[in-house]
Amino acid sequence: MEDSENLRREIIALTKKYYDSKFGSRKFEKGRDKVFYAGRVFDENELANLVDSSLDFWLTEGRYSEQFQARLADYLGVSDVALVNSGSSANLVALSALTSPKLGSRSLKPGDEVITVAAAFPSTVSPIVQLQLVPVFVDIELGTYNIIRERIRQALSPKTKAIMLAHTLGNPVNVDAVMEIVKEREIWFVEDNCDALGSTYDGKLTGTFGHISTVSFYPAHHITTGEGGCIATNDESLARIAKSFRDWGRDCYCSGGENNTCGRRYSQQFGALPYGYDHKYVYTHIGYNLKMTDLQAAIGAAQVEKLPSFVKARKANFARLYKGLARFEESLILPLATPKSDPAWFAFPISVRENSRFSRKDLVSHLENSRIETRNLFCGNLLHQPAFQDIEHRVVGDLLNTNFTMENTFFVGVYPGLTDEHIDYVVEMFEEFFKGL
């Protein structure tokens, strides 16, 4: 029988060969190849890691999970990262963690208010509703598509206990404005960093300002594990609570296959359980099972090494596209980076100005017919979505800009899989559209 390690090496070598054959690059053909708004960008290393992990057949969190989460923590400069099975799960875990009785008087309780925006991806707001908290919607600015800073203070009430905001399409929210209120009112800041891994505000990475932050590794995002996400925090107690919510609500923090990591497996008192009840089966929260598999983490471990180059590529694609589209500013609202920020753009948002000679539909149809993929700004106004129409909520002032984006805003891609040729083609198709008006 051949040595299993030799066989593994052969399989990995063949996998790399397979990558070249199956996924090797080919030249972009205008009008024939689609210009996606996002997509997986990978090389033979992701495939090799995935196969390597499959040969371990460890399946649940294992060596690759440890490696991936450690690299992410190092990248963000935080003490804790916990991997989950999606960015949406990360948001659910992050907000659930703040409901823990272990936080005493600071824990969120049903009826407490959470300031957010309605121009959002649903899973930024869904956990607020699911946890019986009350979302308080504030309008957004056009251009940055982030919360209007002056209105955050207006949204405060005695029931305000948290602010939960996403950095829209990678563009950081005005962190100074948020943190001023967070500190002053001693409320929580849940930083939805799902679309912004690698963005900075005032020279500091987003995802490191909030008490807890979240990242998505869905294929459209800055790095991917297929499905996947993580929470990140510098608060070690919060990290432990979040992991508990992720892991069925259990108190034990042993990794898979480990026992008695705490050294007190049979010598603690919990609730009304008999003294010394096996810590492995002690539940201090009503939790979920939202863990990532080691196969996913194996992909992530290769992806995270590419993150700096991905961020650079996103910025370069954004800059090239911006330069190409600047001449159409009379008709289009082009994206505006939040002051003090340097976004790792998720995408390139564009709004058709009021009273233009054309509609969003006209422009988007032209682009889609030219095989350029577009997307709306997520939900538009979330309160117009069937599932959210009847939720308990509060609106601060009006949501005029949110409604405007619902009617007039869309985005195109700047992801690292796009080359200068792709970007130039997109600009060309905008030119063609405007010439045809």
């Binding site: 440890e66 804790d80 070690e236 923090y253 990794s255 296959g257």
Partner: protein, 240 residues
């Protein structure tokens, strides 16, 4: 608790204090993860293969400052088969595997006055804290009460002396069971919570940290609670 990491380390020094107690200084062969004074690690003598389960290990308090990351120190007392094997077989250059950090015990250098009560090798988590205080300074009073059976079982005495010299708000009282009478340095007898409590000014508002034999910790904790020290201000370094 920060993310636990698994690393290989090499023994760079073995200091035998008695036939059953020794201190190991370990040199990490990979970057040492961040930890807090008071936390502990798992040590395995068997090689760790990341594709397999973590091998048999035991927990040890980290007995060095987190700011001195070039090495990490633990002290072990022989209590069973595993620690006997460690005591007998570990030499200079032996490779071991560590995973760390773990544990909820932590110390805030400032804030309330602190009373540290250590029985025997229970001194180790406090050593990490005290060495850390030497690195960062302290604005709160720290009183250490340390009890051992025999004089030769006093460990880390040089570090404790250094703390006495350099930390203005630090004081130590060392109790030795088998000396004949009090001398300048040590006091005769066992650690006694009643005596300790009487010697602490403002005991009710101080934080008490307990580390040592389980029975000692249990009885001391009960005494403190019966004397109006709330549970929130009693911290015990416990494991099986």
């Amino acid at each position: 608790m920060a993310i636990a990491r698994k690393i290989c380390a090499e023994v760079s020094s073995v200091i035998k204090h008695s036939n059953e107690v020794c201190t190991l200084i370990l040199r990490p062969l990979e970057p040492l993860p961040k930890f807090h004074p008071g936390q502990f690690l798992h040590l395995s003598l068997d090689p760790y293969d990341p594709t397999k389960q973590w091998p048999e290990s035991r927990v040890f308090s980290i007995a060095s400052s987190p700011l001195r990351s070039g090495s990490i120190r633990i002290t072990l007392a022989v209590k069973g088969r595993f620690t006997r094997k460690m005591f007998d077989e570990i030499r200079y250059g032996t490779s071991v595997f560590l995973k760390l950090p773990y544990g909820d015990l932590s110390f805030e250098p400032n804030g309330r006055d602190k009373v540290l009560i250590a029985g025997g090798t229970g001194i180790t988590p406090f050593v990490s804290f005290l060495e850390y205080l030497l690195d960062v300074g302290v604005q709160a009073s720290v009183k250490l009460f340390y009890g051992v059976r025999s004089r030769h079982l006093i460990i880390y005495d040089e570090l404790l002396d250094e703390c006495s010299r350099k930390l203005e708000l630090f004081s130590k009282s060392v109790f030795v069971e088998d000396i004949l009478g009090d001398d300048q340095e040590y006091q005769r007898g066992r650690l006694d919570i009643e005596t300790i409590f009487a010697r602490v000014n403002g005991a009710q508002s101080s934080e008490f940290y307990l580390s040592g034999p389980p029975l000692m910790m249990k009885s001391f904790e009960a005494y403190l609670m019966a004397h109006s020290v709330t549970r929130e201000r009693i911290f015990a370094d416990q494991w099986e």
